[in-house]
């Protein structure tokens, strides 16, 4: 299908060292269409960042085992060689990390760094071309063009993060991955950057994966959401379905931990227990020990149940064997 930008099937990421294996991502399955914005939500240990880094093969080769497939524009990212990946990175696929501000060289002006980056894929570009292109992007992220000639230390955290976003867009990638990109920023800046990103997406026909622990980021800027826990995708679907009517007990618990800004104050819930040891394999549902709706059958691993409207839930409550 021409519409599918990324199709991930049976994706597993395992960290291996001398003493043990850590199963960071298990059996992930999802696909993203053009123009989608998928929010991957999870807490610490959920595997969300690992998954993103693994898709781009940014994890150390020696200690990571990746299996499964991840078809991006017809090519399987898992099987590509480093050479072929280099051609894709930053041209078709780019990333903005949480503290991207730190990835800029403090001793070079922004313009110098952008020129370097652009020339990786476009060696013959002239300075004027690059400047024109980048200043256009700066406008999209609400920065004035004088930023182009400044040094990183002359800009604030919010401005630097916006510069990073602009840099990630410089080659008009088909897919942008933002890994907790707004977490380190203050509320006002975060709100505005999210707005800018959503607007920009429409203009640039871009697809986005947003990795975050903050449900409100997903609610305001994504159309699809995947909820991850301990390396597994527990629930997946359209934001308007999943957030209004969460099905998986973990999703419900997560939603109940976010107090509302207005209206009635519902008692704030927490999810008791703690994260399971990711170096072990589990027979049953990995969330069962902390689940208030756990049943006997949860001792067996629940399959991924497909519901209507592209929604999937990994929970016995919704089907599978009884």
């Amino acid at each position: 299908m021409d519409n599918v930008i990324l199709d991930v099937r049976n994706f597993n990421v395992t960290y291996v060292n001398k003493y043990k294996k850590v199963y960071a991502v298990k059996d992930a399955n999802f696909s993203i269409n053009r123009g989608d914005s998928l929010g991957i939500v999870g807490e610490s240990g959920s595997g969300k960042s690992t998954m993103a880094m693994a898709l781009l093969r940014l994890l150390p080769e020696k200690s990571t085992e990746i299996s499964g497939s991840a078809y991006f524009l017809g090519k399987d990212l898992v099987k590509l060689s480093e050479e072929e990946l280099k051609k894709l990175r930053w041209k078709e696929l780019s990333v903005v990390f949480q503290k991207s501000m730190n990835s800029l060289s403090p001793v070079h002006r922004i313009r110098t760094q952008v020129e370097d980056i652009y020339r990786v894929h476009n060696p013959k570009a002239t300075r004027e071309e690059i400047a024109e292109r980048f200043i256009h992007l700066l406008k999209l992220v609400n920065l004035s063009d004088r930023v182009y000639n400044l040094y990183p230390h002359e800009l604030s955290g919010g401005m630097l993060q916006r510069v990073s976003i602009a840099i990630s867009l410089i080659n008009n990638p088909k897919l942008l991955i933002m890994d907790e990109a707004t977490t380190a920023l203050d509320v006002v800046t975060q709100g505005q950057i999210l707005d800018e990103v959503v607007k920009m997406e429409k203009e640039m026909d871009m697809t986005r994966i947003m990795i975050t622990h903050d449900m409100s980021v997903v609610a305001t800027s994504c159309n699809k959401v995947a909820v991850m826990y301990a390396g597994e995708i527990m629930e997946l679907g359209y934001v308007k379905d999943v957030l209004k009517k969460p099905m998986h007990p973990y999703t419900k618990g997560l939603m109940a931990s976010f107090p509302s800004l207005k209206g009635k104050k519902e008692k704030l819930q927490s999810i008791g227990g703690f994260l399971p040891d990711l170096s072990k394999k589990y027979e049953g549902c990995i969330f069962a020990p902390r689940c208030s709706s756990a049943m006997d059958i949860c001792q067996k691993k629940p399959p991924v149940i497909e519901m209507e409207n592209g929604r999937t839930v990994r929970c016995h409550l919704y089907g599978g064997e009884r």
Binding site: G191, Q192, S216, V239, K244, L261, L268, F274
Partner: protein
């Protein structure tokens, strides 16, 4: 002005000399981290202080706990200056005022077990007759904080416990001395979302059951609204808005508060907030002014706003706003 509230924060300021103090130009430069904050609190009241990084809320928290001394103004508990209380009887003061820090992973010395850590305050303040009684107190405290089995947790080292457990122990440690005033400085910012409720509920219990006044410092507005009775919004070292939590958050009157709240995402995808754009970046708190500190970024600012710092107006029911462009 000093009064007879339980806690009176009276025009507290914290000015740090800025680098490059230009003696020649005559004007000394200061980083005005906290610049004239006055609030009153009752027993058992939970006050939320919200604001973004750099607004001075953490500095204020440290001043209230007397980990730093203010350069101006003072804090009074039951009419007496905390500076004096600390000087007169440091141990008594430390029983009266406690603080819970943001980072639970660093709040305990890595070399002691939980039991040893909790024994320290009991020993210092001679709580409990002997070692056995103190051990009992510790185990009871752990149980009441939901840390089971208490015996086992007491034997563990901090690095063996999760962030949520550690922060609960941090609050329990503070509660052991029966404080009347607790400052919680971003107590859940470093914790996973699903364990925040435990901490919040513990703080609520602390204030309701022990009648302790609690200050909840946070940048998370919805969380602050949930726990607080009253809320104060800080910007560049000053309080720009103050009032009942629900009132301030559902009906913000100061332009900064309005912008802040409008940019807060809701988890309800149907709720579309019109985000107020705020131009520019928060300036540094070095010699801000002379007019309203927010004027340069304010969507309502007029020429007068740059001349003099606005007065604080009461818009009804104790809801106070430091803005002259309310109507």
């Amino acid at each position: 002005m000093k009064n007879d509230s339980f806690i009176c924060i009276d025009n507290v300021s914290m000015w740090y000399p800025a680098k490059g103090n230009r003696v020649f130009s005559g004007e000394k430069r200061y980083v005005k981290a906290v610049d004239g904050v006055s609030i009153n609190m009752d027993r058992g009241e939970i006050l939320g202080i919200i604001g973004e990084s750099g607004c001075g809320k953490s500095t204020l928290g440290r001043i209230l706990a007397r980990l730093e001394n203010p350069t101006g103004g003072d804090v009074y508990i039951e009419g007496e200056s905390t500076g004096n209380l600390l000087k007169k009887d440091p141990k008594a003061f430390r029983r009266l005022v406690q603080i819970v820090f943001q980072n639970p992973y660093d709040s305990f010395t890595p070399r002691d077990t939980i039991e040893e850590i909790l024994m320290r305050p009991l020993n210092i303040h001679s709580i409990g007759k002997d070692k056995d009684e103190r051990k009992k107190i510790i185990l009871e405290a752990l149980e009441s904080g939901g840390l089971h089995p208490a015996e086992e947790i007491a034997r563990r080292y901090p690095h063996e416990l999760s962030g949520g457990q550690l922060q609960r122990i941090s609050i329990l440690r503070a509660m052991l001395v029966e404080p009347k005033f607790v400052i919680a400085d971003e107590p859940v910012s470093m914790l996973d979302v699903s364990v925040r409720a435990e901490i919040i509920n513990m703080l609520l219990k602390l204030s309701r059951e022990k009648d302790a006044a609690v200050i909840f410092i946070s940048h998370d507005i919805s969380l602050t609204r949930y726990i607080s009775d009253k809320v104060a919004v800080m910007y560049l070292g000053r309080i720009v808005e103050y009032g009942e939590a629900d009132e301030v958050i559902s009906n913000p009157r100061h332009p900064y508060t309005q912008a802040l709240i409008s940019n807060c995402g809701s988890i309800d995808p149907d709720e579309i907030m019109d985000k107020i754009k705020v131009e520019g970046e928060p300036p540094t708190p070095i010699n801000p002014g002379p007019g309203c500190y927010f004027a340069s970024r304010c969507f309502k600012a007029s020429k007068e706003c740059f001349k003099e710092y606005p007065a604080t107006h009461d818009v009804g029911g104790g809801h106070k706003v430091a803005c002259d462009r309310l109507y």
